[in-house]
């Protein structure tokens, strides 16, 4: 208790001297002042947090509960749902091969994203941390795809990768006609095409994170290692990588969440129906197809709840077992002290 009180006092750093005084020597004379301060504080919280809380409750929490409610009905989306079917929708979801396929694709994308983007991003970050010519240009070029909207990326790649598209034309003009493929429609390569596009699109974000992480590592450590005679690779292995750990873990978390929710790229490139045939459907595209396009809004809501629960379990597990050591100091004052 005293620990956290100390933390609080240091954090408020003298901006409220009256309050500090009250803490040290409570007396009747200070009461009115303290009450006014409390009231002011409440007003401040009300004004600053109120709108955000309203928006959060209205557009995040409320829809989650509504989805859970609609998920128990067969409902065409008109009026109030009346046809209660209990858990039937959920049983249908987990026995529908199309959903299980989509889940499998999501898992594939999660794992492949980590494997493909992680090491490449760290390598790029190390490279861009050197004093090389044109460094800022390369940084911009790597980050540009991340800034472009998904719809534009999807439309562009979708057009280029069609059988009669630019990629195949380029290949045959280069005399590599044998390599031509139906990049989007062939179920054997479609998901790899998707992985390449995803990596191209999102690696900039990972690189920027890693760069920031590397630049946060104190120079003294490198100097000390250099004096001790460590080689460049030894320094990266024993200093950069371990100290980059928190950044890598946060990036991996964001990447996993993004992969679970992947929708726009797939929907734009493969359209409303071909994704599941080509083997690139995700849980989100399944939800739109079976819920919105089919007009089965009750079922669609149930799919939404299933996706929510799956994502939540993964996120909480990751928080509990991986992110915990990074967030320990930040979120829990007492144990944070101990680590220091």
């Amino acid at each position: 208790m005293s620990d956290s009180a100390e933390v609080l006092t240091t954090r408020s750093s003298g901006s409220q001297p009256a309050r500090d005084g009250a803490h040290k020597a409570p007396s009747r004379a200070d009461r009115p002042g303290r009450a006014r301060a409390d009231w002011r504080q409440r007003l401040e919280i009300l004004i600053l947090a109120g709108p955000a809380i309203i928006v959060f409750l209205t557009f995040v929490i409320f829809p989650v509960f509504m989805a859970a409610y609609y998920g128990f009905f067969k409902w065409k989306g008109f009026g109030v749902p009346t046809n209660f079917v209990g858990l039937q929708n959920y049983i249908t979801i987990f026995t529908d091969q199309n959903f299980l396929d989509a889940l499998k694709h999501n898992a594939f994308i999660v794992v492949l994203s980590l494997i493909m983007q992680g090491p490449a991003a760290i390598a790029f970050a190390l490279l861009l941390n050197q004093n090389i010519r044109g460094r800022s240009v390369i940084r911009v070029l790597i980050f540009v795809p991340y800034v472009i909207s998904e719809v534009i990326v999807g439309t562009g790649w979708g057009l280029m990768l069609q059988y009669q598209g630019a990629v195949n034309t380029l290949l045959s003009n280069m005399g590599l006609g044998a390599l031509k493929g139906d990049w989007i429609a062939d179920p054997n390569i479609a998901i790899w095409t998707l992985m390449v596009i995803i990596s191209w699109k999102y690696i900039g974000f990972a690189v920027i994170l890693m760069l920031a992480g590397i630049q946060g590592i104190p120079d003294e450590l490198y100097e000390a290692a250099a004096i001790d005679g460590a080689s460049y690779w030894q320094i990266q292995r024993w200093i950069t990588l371990p100290l980059l750990g928190p950044t890598i873990r946060v990036w991996a978390f964001l990447s996993v969440i993004g992969s679970m929710q992947l929708f726009d790229l797939v929907y734009i490139i493969w359209g409303q129906y071909v994704a599941s045939t080509a083997g690139t459907s995700t849980m989100a595209t399944y939800m739109v197809r079976e819920g919105r396009l089919a007009g089965n809004y009750g079922y669609g809501n149930a799919v939404g709840v299933a996706i929510f629960v799956i994502s939540l379990v993964i996120a909480l597990t990751y928080q509990r077992f991986v992110l915990r050591r990074d967030t320990d100091g930040a979120l829990t004052g007492d144990s944070g002290k101990k680590h220091k």
Partner: protein
């Protein structure tokens, strides 16, 4: 400390809710009176070219004749229309006048009580010039809910020049002849059939047409009424399509080809002589025209009916098609039906047919059709023993969705004909 924060958060919440509520109640809803100014919203699906202009002009003409009426037009891309419309109607903030395609899709809207019964309000002039049959697609339980603007029977559109180039002298009437023609086209280095598989419904149309030839009229109507697809003709239609697609008649990469967007789409391939045929509805000449290099009608465009299938129980003269039309929201003002009667007049129907290069619903206006391909369609349409609705329209969104997916899967080699029927049955469990 913890409790205090919670308390103030609640206060904040309460205060903000109060603010929001008073904000809402401050704006009174505009009363809708018949004499005062009337504002209506109007959703259609023509986002480009003459069609877009036609609706602008027609609405302007209507507003001029009825000065107290204002109509806000919103053009919505065709592939987005059904989903957006459903969301909007359900939110209670839907359009006053909206596009309707009849059949099961309309029946869903009727069941939800979102659309106006216009049976008694259709003007006698319109009734005479339209005839009764055309309204059947928009009739649910004996009541009419929509005003058709076009008849859109389907069939195969083809390039006469490319057929000539391949040495084909007459259009095929049976599948054996069609297969022979495809072989000739391929030998001449021409892509035989363009297919917009990315949008799925063009692929599903191939299945529908095989079903039209394989299934009797009764079998199709039973399926519509009871959602019962157990008649073996449904599987036979799938087998016929599979056998046909195994000869690779479609353009390479048809699964990722869209139907109507850009020169690379199936309609665009026809418009640029990159493919010889396409199975489509009567809107196709208009779509193709918008995609030719000079955006004018394709001069050598021809049409023939879907060929007969051996061993099928369907009548070879039967046609399949839809009707585009418009409906009024449940609580629409009287001006809404006035507008529907207005667009159904002979002059406006002729304008419609010209702008969209399609067949008007009004029989009076049909005499004005000059496009040779459309004339052929019209002749076949008037001779047809019966006309079925597009199956996805007739059987509703849910079954249509399942058919779309099932057919695309089969064409990609991932499913069997029986899987299509299974997919339709599974769909019943979801809605």
């Amino acid at each position: 400390m913890q409790r205090k924060v919670k308390g103030s958060a609640l206060v904040a919440l309460g205060a903000s809710v109060a603010l929001v509520l008073t904000g809402c109640s401050g704006a009174p809803a505009a009363p809708a009176t018949s004499s005062g100014p009337v504002t209506m919203t109007f959703w259609h699906n023509s986002t480009t070219g003459d069609g877009l202009q036609y609706w602008k002009d027609t609405v302007a003409a209507f507003e001029k004749a009825n000065p107290n009426v204002t109509i806000n037009i919103q053009a919505i891309q065709n592939e987005d229309m059904d989903g957006k419309l459903q969301t909007a109607l359900n939110s209670g903030d839907g359009p006053t006048i909206f596009m309707a395609r009849g059949g099961g899709k309309l029946a869903d809207v009727v069941a939800a009580d979102k659309v106006m019964d216009i049976t008694s309000q259709i003007s006698s002039d319109v009734k005479t010039s339209y005839g009764d049959a055309i309204f059947s697609a928009f009739t649910v339980d004996g009541k009419i809910y929509g005003m058709p603007t076009s008849v859109l029977p389907g069939g195969i559109y083809y390039s006469k020049d490319l057929f000539k180039q391949a040495g084909i002298t007459s259009t095929p009437t049976t599948f054996d002849e069609l297969n022979a023609d495809i072989t000739k086209l391929k030998a001449a280095g021409i892509t035989a059939i363009a297919l917009g598989g990315k949008d799925a419904w063009p692929a599903a149309h191939w299945y529908y047409f095989f079903a039209l030839r394989d299934c009797s009229k009764d079998a199709m109507n039973t399926a519509a009424a009871k959602k019962d697809f157990s008649d073996p003709c449904w599987t036979k239609a799938g087998e016929d399509l599979k056998a046909f697609s195994s000869t690779s008649p479609f353009n390479t990469g048809f699964l990722t080809t869209s139907a109507q967007q850009g020169a690379g789409s199936s309609a665009g391939m026809l418009a640029n002589h990159k493919a010889a045929m396409e199975l489509m509805g009567a809107w196709d000449p208009g779509v193709i025209a918008s995609l030719t290099p000079d955006t004018k009608a394709l001069p050598d465009l021809g049409w023939f009916a879907f060929p007969a299938v051996s061993g099928g129980s369907g009548d070879p003269s039967a046609m399949m098609g839809g009707s585009d039309g418009f409906a009024c929201a449940k609580n629409a003002p009287a001006a809404c039906v006035q507008f529907l009667n207005f667009i159904a007049s002979k002059a406006n129907q002729e304008g419609y047919a010209k702008a969209f290069q399609t067949l008007p619903a009004s029989r009076d206006a049909q005499s004005g059709v000059t496009d040779p391909a459309l004339k052929d369609v019209l002749t076949a349409y008037n001779k047809a023993s019966y006309v079925m609705l597009w199956l996805d329209t007739m059987y509703g969104q849910n079954v249509g969705n399942a058919l779309n997916g099932g057919v695309v899967n089969m064409l990609a080699g991932k499913g069997s004909p029986a899987d299509i029927v299974t997919a339709v049955k599974t769909a019943a469990a979801k809605g």
